[in-house]
Symmetry: C2
Amino acid sequence: MTVIDKKQPTDRLQDNLNQVQRLIERQRLVEDLVHRQDMPKHDLVESLVHKQNLVELEHKLESLHPADIAYILEALPLDDRLLVWDLVDSEDEGEILLEVSDAVRESLIESMEQHELVAAAEQLDADDLADLAPDLPRQVVYEVMGGLDEEERQQLQSALSYEEGQVGALMDYELVKIRPDVSCEVVLRYLRRFDELPSQTDKIFVVDEDGVLKGVLPVRRLLVCDPERLVEEVMATEVVSFHPDEDAADAALAFERYDLVTAPVVDEHGVLVGRLTVDEMVDVIREESETEALNLAGLKEEEDLFAPVIDSVKNRWAWLAINLCTAFVASRVIGAFEGSIERLVALAALMPIVAGIGGNSGNQTITMIVRALAMGQLQPGQAQRLWRKELGVSVINGLVWGSALGVLAWLLYGNFSLGLVMLAATTLNLMLAASMGVLIPTMMERFGKDPAVGSSVLITACTDSGGFFIFLGLASLFLL
Amino acid sequence: MTVIDKKQPTDRLQDNLNQVQRLIERQRLVEDLVHRQDMPKHDLVESLVHKQNLVELEHKLESLHPADIAYILEALPLDDRLLVWDLVDSEDEGEILLEVSDAVRESLIESMEQHELVAAAEQLDADDLADLAPDLPRQVVYEVMGGLDEEERQQLQSALSYEEGQVGALMDYELVKIRPDVSCEVVLRYLRRFDELPSQTDKIFVVDEDGVLKGVLPVRRLLVCDPERLVEEVMATEVVSFHPDEDAADAALAFERYDLVTAPVVDEHGVLVGRLTVDEMVDVIREESETEALNLAGLKEEEDLFAPVIDSVKNRWAWLAINLCTAFVASRVIGAFEGSIERLVALAALMPIVAGIGGNSGNQTITMIVRALAMGQLQPGQAQRLWRKELGVSVINGLVWGSALGVLAWLLYGNFSLGLVMLAATTLNLMLAASMGVLIPTMMERFGKDPAVGSSVLITACTDSGGFFIFLGLASLFLL
C-alpha cells in the first residue's frame, strides 16, 4: 500500500527546517569540541561523529524538493546556509538557484567555484538559464553556451534579448505542436511517443505548416472527444495569446482574468514562438506586489534577512536620502515661521498633527488610485471626476476631524481662535492631500513612469511642507 | 479558415471599454435630447435611435467574457454601470458578480430585484454560490437552496461552514475520481463519457472504495503511458494535499512553491472531499497583497473608485482616527517641552526631521520582517540575531545621516552644540526604530495577530513620539 503524506505543507516545511537546524547545531557543537580540546587520541572518534552528522544532513537534503531546500537556505544565517549548500546534490543546484530570492542567490553564487557554476547551469533549460544568466559571471555563461546545441543556443539568445518584465523573458520553449487536419486519435498516438509531456500542459498548440498558430486543443477536450474527429473541428479558436514584447504584468492580469494555465506566445506574423505557464505568472504577481511593498517602505530591493550590515545599509540608503531631503524642505518651511512660533509656542506642538493627518489621508487616496491605474480601471478622462469625489471626502473628513482637533486645541490652550485655525488648516491640508493624491499618480502615468514608485514619498513631502505652511501661515495671519 | 484575435489582451480590454463608453455617451445624448425638446412628433424617431444604441450595447456585451464585463463594470461610474448591468445577459450575471470587486458587487446587488438575484445565483456551482452567499439577502439564499439537490445542498452547507481564508471555503467539488486497480485504457474510456472535464483538470484523483485518497494520476502522464498498465503503477503517490481548515494563504504558498495547478483536499481520515485550483490561489495571492497595501495606507477595505463620498468616508474613518490619536500623543510630547522651544525656536524646525527619518527607517525594518514572517522564513529564536543586525545598520545610518544633519543644523543656526544634539538624537531614534521594528512584528506574531496589520502605524507612532522626546530631551539637557 502506498502512503500519502498527510502533513500540511507548511508544517512539513517547518519540520524540515527544524531538522536541518538541529543537525547543523549538532555539527557546530562537534566542531567546537574538536577545536577546543585538541587531544590527538580523540581525533578518530570525533571525526567519525563529525562525518555522521554531515551524512545525515546530506541524506535529509536529498529527500527534499528543490523548492524546499530553497526555503531552508533562505531561512538560515549565512554561515549555516553555506554549510548546507555544500551538501546539496549538484544536480539540483541549478534549480535551487532559480528558486531562492535574488539576495540569497547572490550569496550562494559568490561561494561557488567557476566549474561548479558551469555544472549547475548546464542542468537547466534554455529559458531557465536565461533567468539565471544575469547573475552569473560572464565566463560561466560563455562556457555553458558552448555546450548547447544550435536550437537551445538560439532559444537562449532569444530569451536573453528581452528585458526583465517582458513576456519574452518568461516564456519557455516546451511546445507540443500538432496540425489541424489530423484526427484526435492520431494526436493521442503522437503524444504517447513522448516520455512525459511538459509540465503544466493543459492544451496542445495547433499550427499550420508555417508554424502559424491556428488554435489550441485543450487536453480536457481531447480526453472526452470522439477519436475520429479532426483536430480542427474540436480545437478552440478563440485563444488568448501574447506577444514576446508585451508587459509580463499585463499577461499575469490576463491569466488571472481568464483562469489560464498555459497560453501561446506568437510573433508579429502569428508564428508560435513559445508559451507562458501559470507558475511563472504567479511569480510575477507575487514579485510585483512585493516590489510595491518594498518601495513604499523605502527599500530598493528584496533584502537577505541575514545579509551583512553593510549590504543592508546600501539597500536602504537611497530612500533615506530622499526622505531626508523632503524633511529638510519641510524644516525650512517651519524655519520661515520661527518668529510666529516664538510668539505662540503652541503652534510647534500642534503643527505635526496637521501634517500627519494630511499624509495619512493623501496616502489613502494615492493607494486607491495607483491600484486602479495598475489594474487598468482608471481612464484618463475620469481623473477630474475622481478629483471632485476625493475633494468631497477630504472636506467632510477635514470638517469632522478638524473640529475635533480644534476643540482639543481650544481646551488645551484656552485659545478659541487657535482652534479655528486648527480646523481650517486641517481641512485645507486634507484638500491639498486629495488633490495631490489624484494629481501625482495620474501625472506619473501620463509621463510613462510607474506611479507606484515614490508616490508615497512625494505625497508625504507635499502634505508635510504644505501642512506646516498652511497651519503656520494661517496662524501668523490671524493669531499674531 | 479560423481567425485568431492577435490583439494583446490588455488592448482588447481597453477597446471593449472604449466601445461601451462611446455607446453609453451616445445613449446619454439621445436621452438628453428627448428630455429637452419634448416635441411629440419626434417621439417615434427618438425612441428608435434610443433603442438602437441599447441594442448595439447589448450585442457588444453578449460577445464578451464575463471577466471582461466585470472589468468594464468596475471602470464605469455608478449610473453608467447600472445601465450596462441592466443589459447583461441574465445567464452571465452570477459569474460576473463573482468576478467584480466586493465594493462593485455590493452596488450591483443593491440594484437587483429579489427574483433577479435568485435567477443569477441559480446559475452557479455550490462552491461559487458559497462565495456569493454572504453578500446576498438571506431570503435569496434560502430560495436558491430550496432548488438544489441533496448533494449540492450538502456541498453548499459544507462550503459555508468554513471561514473566509480557509481552504474549505475555496475548494470546489468538481472531482474526477478513479480506482487504483483499473488500467489506463479503462480510465481513458471512462473519461470519454464526460461531456467536458472540469476546468483546470491536470490530474485525476485515485481513491479506494472508502473514498480515501491513494494518489493522483497526472493527465500528462496518462497521455503518454502504456494503456495496459494499471493506475496504481503509473500514479504519483507523493501528493501535496490540504485540509479544509488550513489557511488559504499557506496553500497558496505551496501552490507557488511546487508549481501546482490543482491539489486534492482531504479530511482527517484521508477521504477526498474537494480540490483546490490555481486560479483560486492566484486570487488569494492578489488579495493578500492588496489587503496589505490597503492596510498600510490606512484603508479598511477595497474601495469602489466611484463609490459615493459617504462610503469612502466610512472606509477611511478608522485609520484616520488611529492616526489622529498617535499624532495627538506626539503633540503632547512636544507640549511638554514648550519651554525649551520658546528658548531655542530652532528646535521646532529641526524636530520633524529626526522624527521623519526614524519613521522611514523603522518602516524599512518592519517591512522586511513582516515579509519574512509571512513567508515563514523567520524563526522565533532568530529575532535576537536580527535585532543585533538591525541595530548595526541603524548605528551606521545614524552616524552618517546624523552627521550630515548635524553639520546642516550647525551651519544654519551657527550653534555647534545644536549640531551635536542633532547627531545624537538621529542616531538614538534610528536605534529605537530598529528595535521597535524587530519587536513589534515578532510580538504580534507571538500573540497570534497578523503582523502586517497596523505595524506601520505603530512604528510611526513610536518613532514620532520617541523622536520628539529624544531630540527635545537632549536639547533641554545640554543646550539650555
